[in-house]
């Protein structure tokens, strides 16, 4: 019998698992995929929002601003990248300018630090590549960028190391309350838990409806993105938003942790919450709208396009609610859910405590993790790393300079990777301009060797995404 079962291993599940791993609790953590962070967490804008968007006084506003305040220290603790870039909301006309003023008022009321309305010249001085037609901007110094899957992995690895029982490839099929506990059935296992946290992303509504009365409705909203090569001009240094207006919420242009430029998303209501296809129309819309902010964006330097599905719902709010029998929904965690995640985890613990969960700190809990990244070290450190282990001298991913040593450490990490993309999320191999064209076969070879399995069993990504079929057939003759 577990004290708590967490369903879903995205950023929300991981944040909660990390937070609860501090206490003397027996925690089960179920994820239907073969790795953590495979839903909305891996395909979004990767932004830490300052917090002027949610309505003043709302819970979403409080969680956003609080999460953004907690984010740098949390990233530091689990050795995930965080960069405090600041953000600009761009105004193109007088109506936009009045939007800026109301956003600032709202942000001030939400407790967002340092908001400042800039005039045209001040804005262009900060960001020279902008459209010269802009008339001003709202500057939010607390905004930043992260790598959402990396933060999720960092939190999850600590949680697992600290005793949380993560079960991958466990898709919850039925959940019901029996006498004094929840019975959770996956495709091949049955678990029991006193309390349940529903952090299942697009799957949260279905699970909620099995556990209790309908209370919210998800509206899966797909957004498409471009990712431009690094070192390509024009470069931007802030997260650049457009004013929400009659034409929608606008398209953002932002630097990424690795120095690429990320552009998107549009918003399209879709039926299937897992349909992450891209479309001609969607990509064209993104490119056209983004050029309004930065006219000279070079889409010819695109290295990847992708889409992510936000767990939007019928109203502009998260669905966070503690129900009878210890069932906690952390659902519809739409934008700014990533920013709010650290605060949502703390709030979830408060709700569980209010529900009667006893939390006693565990002795010796260590919330930190460290990752060795060769490319980020000084020449002296690099020399020492290779001297200690020659595998750090073997560069596997040449776009991002990721070494075999880092890949081997990832394979031995608390949540062992089973796919090439899992190696990518852990090390960065394959994230660069050739998108794994060069290192993919080499990573496959290393995974196959280290895991002791046939190359045909190595996956690109989710289960079923096999890469090679097996040995060539010498018997084939034409």
């Amino acid at each position: 019998m577990y004290d708590i079962a967490i369903i879903g291993a995205g950023i929300i599940g991981a944040s909660v698992a990390y937070e609860l791993s501090r206490y003397r609790l027996k925690i089960l953590w179920l994820e239907k995929e073969n790795d953590v962070s495979l839903g909305a967490t891996r395909a979004n804008s990767a932004i830490v929002h300052a917090g002027y968007d949610p309505p003043a006084g709302s819970r979403m506003a409080r969680l956003n601003v609080e999460g953004t305040r907690l984010m740098p220290a949390l990233c530091e603790a689990v050795d995930a990248h965080y960069k405090n870039t600041g953000s600009l909301v761009l105004a193109f006309d007088e109506r936009d300018r009045s939007t800026l003023r109301s956003l600032k008022e709202q942000g001030d009321a939400n407790g967002v630090p340092g908001l400042q309305v800039l005039n045209r010249e001040e804005t262009l001085a900060r960001e020279p590549a902008l459209n010269p037609d802009i008339v001003g901007s709202l500057y939010a110094p607390s905004a930043g960028i992260i790598l959402p899957w990396e933060l999720t992995l960092g939190l999850a690895e600590v949680a697992v190391r600290e005793g949380v029982d993560l079960r991958l490839r466990q898709e919850l099929q039925t959940i019901r309350y029996e006498a004094d506990h929840w019975k959770l059935e996956t495709q091949n296992e049955t678990y029991q838990a006193r309390r349940v946290i529903n952090a299942a992303g697009q799957g949260a509504e279905k699970i909620h409806r099995q556990a209790t009365e309908p209370a919210f409705h998800l509206l899966p909203t797909r957004g498409e993105y471009y990712l431009l090569d690094k070192a390509v001009d024009p470069q931007v240094s802030h997260v650049l938003f457009q004013c929400p207006g009659p034409l929608g919420k606008g398209i953002l242009v932002t630097p990424t942790i690795h120095g690429n430029t990320l552009i998107g998303p549009n918003a399209e209501l879709i039926e299937d919450g897992e349909d992450t296809s891209t479309t001609y129309a969607g990509l064209a819309e993104v490119a056209q709208k983004a050029r309004r902010s930065v006219p000279n964006l070079r889409f010819g330097e695109n290295i990847r396009h992708f889409s992510g599905v936000r767990a939007n719902r019928e109203v502009d709010d998260f669905y966070i609610a503690m129900h009878d029998k210890g069932f906690l929904d952390l659902a519809a965690i739409k934008s700014p859910g990533l920013s709010a995640a650290p605060a949502i985890a703390l709030y979830a613990r408060e709700l569980l405590e209010a529900d009667g969960l006893e939390v006693q700190p565990r002795e010796g809990w260590n919330g930190r993790r460290k990752v060795r990244r060769f490319a980020e070290r000084s020449p002296e450190d690099k020399a020492a790393m290779v001297d200690a282990n020659p595998a750090f001298g073997r560069v596997i991913c040449r776009c991002q300079t990721i070494t075999e040593g880092e890949i081997l450490e990832a394979i031995r990490s608390p949540i062992p990777p089973v796919s090439i993309d899992a190696i990518k999320r852990r090390t960065g191999a394959g994230l660069g301009r050739c998108q794994g064209g060069f290192c993919g076969p080499r990573v496959l070879e290393i995974l196959s060797r280290e895991l002791g399995v046939d190359p045909a069993e190595i996956l690109q990504d989710k289960d079923g995404s096999y890469i090679v079929l097996g040995d060539n057939r010498p018997e084939v003759r034409i």
Binding site: S277, N302, V386, G393, G437, P441, I467, V468, L469
Partner: protein, 424 residues
């Protein structure tokens, strides 16, 4: 940290790097090191097990590994140091190199001259913007070639190839020989990207349809690719509504172009050409950074390795001349070359017009296929040379050589312009 010194550092041990190092050695340079990131010399030739290499250079038909072997022997026969599994992490404009390898660890190398011979990489899906899902089974033709030829692994059963670059064509044949069904080779342009001989030998001989002016408009399948949607495109290369059809497949190979790999060039401050994506070079293949030369696919994409070898030998000789101070590259009038109508680019992009310049080799690609053409060379509005071609195509690199007496007619301060015109 100790810094090692070499007269010449060659970055890349593929066909370009090997030919450059050998010729520099033969010109008297004795302190040479080749830095190769793979476990062996030869570069991409090692996975090119088909024949057709060496027809120009050796006057015989070799496989890729055989062609490489000739140069590996040449390198071994000389006192040229070779560092394998050695990755250059950085190169600066002072020609200081950061290098890492499992055997020697992290090192600094100071070079008097550097030859860039890093080759190219394949354009990936992001570069062409094919929409749809992101399943496994979508890979570049070169990655597939590596799996099949070096790892002995099958990449799929039902194949569609997007793009008609040479590697894709070669893989169409290779996979057919492995018993796979290659359903089509889909090319968005109205003419093929690869060599004519490969169209015949790799597609026609295997009854593989070549769909010109077509593209893949959508990729389908959540885990492994299940189908592609193929449509005809209009003159602006936009898919024509109503022409789309679905082709079931488990593999999509991308053969949509090569991109010179110039991250190190950029780090060193070398000026790049937006058309070739390679360094801008002078007539001696020197880049904008003194003492740094470039050759092979890092400079511009070649279609025949034979030409890579010839070009790289020139780079080796030029580096040797630079090292012995025979060449004062700053001397002479600076002349810009202009790729006029019908030409995509020229290599070199500029030259120092020195009295001792004996001849000038100019390489270029045309923008479209045409028959019976003349290449007109002009300086200061005056035609100074004329070359004729029976057939030109974008997939086949062109070369002209201007002799000294033509060079003497170049107007100082004027551009040297090349253009293509129908020979009536």
């Amino acid at each position: 940290m100790k810094t090692q010194q070499y007269d010449l550092v060659v970055i890349g041990g593929g066909p370009a790097g090997m030919a450059a190092a050998v010729s520099a050695y033969d010109q008297g340079v004795r302190s040479i090191v080749i830095l190769e990131r793979d476990k062996q010399l030869g570069g991409i030739l090692n996975q090119c097990i088909h024949n057709g290499f060496g027809l120009h250079h050796f006057k015989e038909e070799l496989s890729g590994p055989e062609y490489a072997e000739r140069y590996i022997k040449d390198v071994r026969a000389r006192d040229i140091e070779v560092r394998l599994e050695s990755m250059v992490l950085d190169l600066n404009s002072e020609r200081i190199i950061q290098l890492v390898s499992p055997s020697h660890g992290f090192e600094l190398i100071e070079a008097k001259a550097v030859i860039l011979a890093m080759g190219s990489r394949e354009r990936a899906r992001g570069g062409i913007g094919t929409p749809g899902t992101r399943p496994a089974g979508v890979l570049t033709a070169g990655a597939a070639q590596r799996y099949v030829n070096l790892e002995g692994q099958r990449v799929g059963e039902n194949i569609v190839i997007l793009g008609s670059g040479d590697i894709g064509l070669i893989m169409a044949r290779r996979l057919s020989l492995e018993g796979c069904k290659v359903h089509a080779c889909v090319e968005i342009m109205s003419e093929p990207g690869g060599l004519a001989r490969n169209i015949v030998q790799c597609l026609q001989d295997f009854d593989i349809p070549l769909l010109l002016s077509h593209t893949v408009t959508r990729i389908e399948g959540k885990k492994r690719i299940e189908a592609v949607h193929i449509a005809k495109v209009d003159m602006q290369m936009r898919p024509i509504p109503g022409t789309e059809r679905r082709v079931a497949c488990d593999t999509l190979l991308l053969s949509v172009g090569l991109i010179p790999e110039n991250e190190l060039s950029r780090a060193a401050g070398v000026e790049l050409d937006n058309r070739t994506k390679g360094p801008q070079v002078f007539e001696n293949l020197q880049t904008s950074v003194p003492g740094v030369f470039a050759c092979g696919n890092v400079l511009h994409i070649h279609d025949l390795v034979d030409h890579v070898s010839d070009e790289s030998a020139r780079a080796g000789r030029a580096a040797a001349a630079y090292l012995s101070k025979q060449t004062d590259t700053a001397g002479g009038d600076l002349i810009a070359l202009e790729a006029g109508r019908g030409l995509r680019y020229t290599v070199p992009q500029r030259l120092h017009l020195r009295p001792d310049l004996e001849k000038l080799d100019i390489f270029f690609r045309v923008t479209h296929t045409a028959e019976e053409q003349k290449i007109i060379v002009e300086s200061g509005g005056k035609q100074i040379a004329l070359f004729r071609r029976v057939h030109v195509a974008p997939g086949e690199m062109e070369k002209i050589t201007l002799p000294a007496k033509v060079l003497a007619e170049i107007q100082p301060g004027a551009k040297l312009s090349l253009r293509l015109e129908a020979a009536l």
